[in-house]
Subunit: 272 residues, 2 copies
């Protein structure tokens, strides 16, 4: 499997794994964003993923291309956060390489990132002078000579995906290790997803529903792992309330990419 | 969308469409062959699909490569029949081009096809001197100077996929036309699948369960379209009995590929 195929497989395996509380999965769609949108995104992002695995093009520019390729469908943002992690991982090959790749990011990468951002409906923090919706944000980036790494550093408090850039892909590493422990295939992914959800506040939930709901989801996930509460019922409740741990899913995708490269078997019927 | 992406999308959209009587779909796996195997096959076949869309390599050799790339996982045969249709369609670009491509096939293509066949557990007709399990089949092919087109002509009576090669991709065309009528997205695919099942005997069911069961499936599908019988219950019954209209699925994949190239919208939220 090539690195690009590993990235595509990671996107496909994450979205089809189930039951995952609140997210689009094999058994759940959201009204505007369906399973097919996620699968199509994994197929259609390939040219950008190939560039990331090659030597040409900056990370920001490739990110913008990945978003452009995958918002051609009507399903809205599917893998923006995942691309923020996968593109440096592909550029660097593995986590240590990705850490070097993000440190090398430039002001131009930051500008392209903002252009990518504006193709999606994803928001940073309202009121933040660097919010993508702020018309002066790009001027500020250029004036301050902020690299994409600096932007992520700025966002790290409120965004667990941005935080991966500045802390050495800590949760990606942690979740990949957990995948190795949890074992092959779909059940390994679901177990790893739940464990990450039970130990980390999902910042996407914080943005959409506030910190109390995010804390509740974390506690409930921990409870299910302790044998208190039913995963299926929790999933249904999250779906009904529109609670979608999207950033956790992004990190799981990066973790599957990493673990596949380390020999983790996506297919239990044939260890790889 | 490039032709190769259309082929990959066709594979992904077909397998995730549901409910489809008896086949692996979004809600059903078979014991050894799961949704992930089909999705992985769509990702991992890409190098072979690229060759088919390019100018290099014979159809038989490319078919062998596609099967080799997609039997690396443990899920057994997933898309062998689909590749038999998609590879000429990619080589020719559309149905008229595919008709020319299959007529140009060679003895070497036939030999490669037999080698591909032997990588799968798919059987031709037991007792047929051209059965892949017959150790003399390859000698016979070479002695008689049979091209891959000739092999398909030999198999046409008992195999609806082979029949497509010699009748101008008749069912592929018919199902693509039906897709345009049935409309966008998942529901269009399910409707087209049922209609094809209701008018054509699935030869894969004949091989596995005999002609009576195949005829029963056809009648039941027709009944559901006429408002007699419930699709979900029929699906469950087929799954329980192991009745899997796999050849119909292969033709639907070829039809989706064709219809996508003619403007059919896989995504109802944004017509393409």
């Amino acid at each position: 499997m090539t690195p690009v195929e590993r990235a595509q497989m990671a996107m496909i395996l994450e979205v089809t794994a189930y039951p995952k509380p609140g997210n689009v999965d094999r058994c759940h769609d959201y009204e505007g964003t369906r399973l097919e949108h996620f699968l199509a995104s994994a197929i259609l992002a390939r040219p950008a993923l190939e560039k990331a695995a090659g030597c040409s093009g900056g990370i920001g520019e490739i990110l913008r291309e990945a978003v452009r390729l995958t918002t051609a469908h009507g399903g809205g943002n599917t893998h923006f956060g995942a691309f923020i992690l996968l593109i440096p991982l592909l550029r660097g090959g593995d986590i240590p390489g990705a850490v070097r790749a993000v440190q090398d990011s430039t002001v131009e990468d930051a500008v392209s990132f903002y252009q990518a951002f504006s193709l999606t409906k994803v928001r940073m923090l309202p009121g933040d002078p660097l919010d993508v919706a702020d018309p002066h944000a790009l001027d500020l980036i250029r004036d301050r000579r902020m690299t994409l790494f600096d932007v992520m550093d700025h966002s790290k408090e409120h965004d667990m995906v941005a935080r991966e850039w500045v802390n050495g892909f800590r949760l990606t590493r942690k979740a990949a290790d957990q995948l190795h422990r949890a074992g092959c295939g779909r059940d390994g992914i679901v177990g790893t997803f739940l464990r990450l959800l039970s130990t980390e506040i999902d910042t996407f939930i914080v943005k959409e529903h506030g910190p109390l709901v995010a804390e509740e989801v974390k506690q409930r996930a921990a409870g299910i792992l302790d044998g208190r509460g039913d995963l299926g019922a929790f999933d249904s409740e999250c779906i009904a309330r529109g609670i979608n741990p999207g950033s956790t899913a992004d990190i799981i995708i990066a973790a599957i990419y990493t673990a596949l490269g380390e020999g983790w078997a996506w297919d239990c019927s044939r260890k790889e």
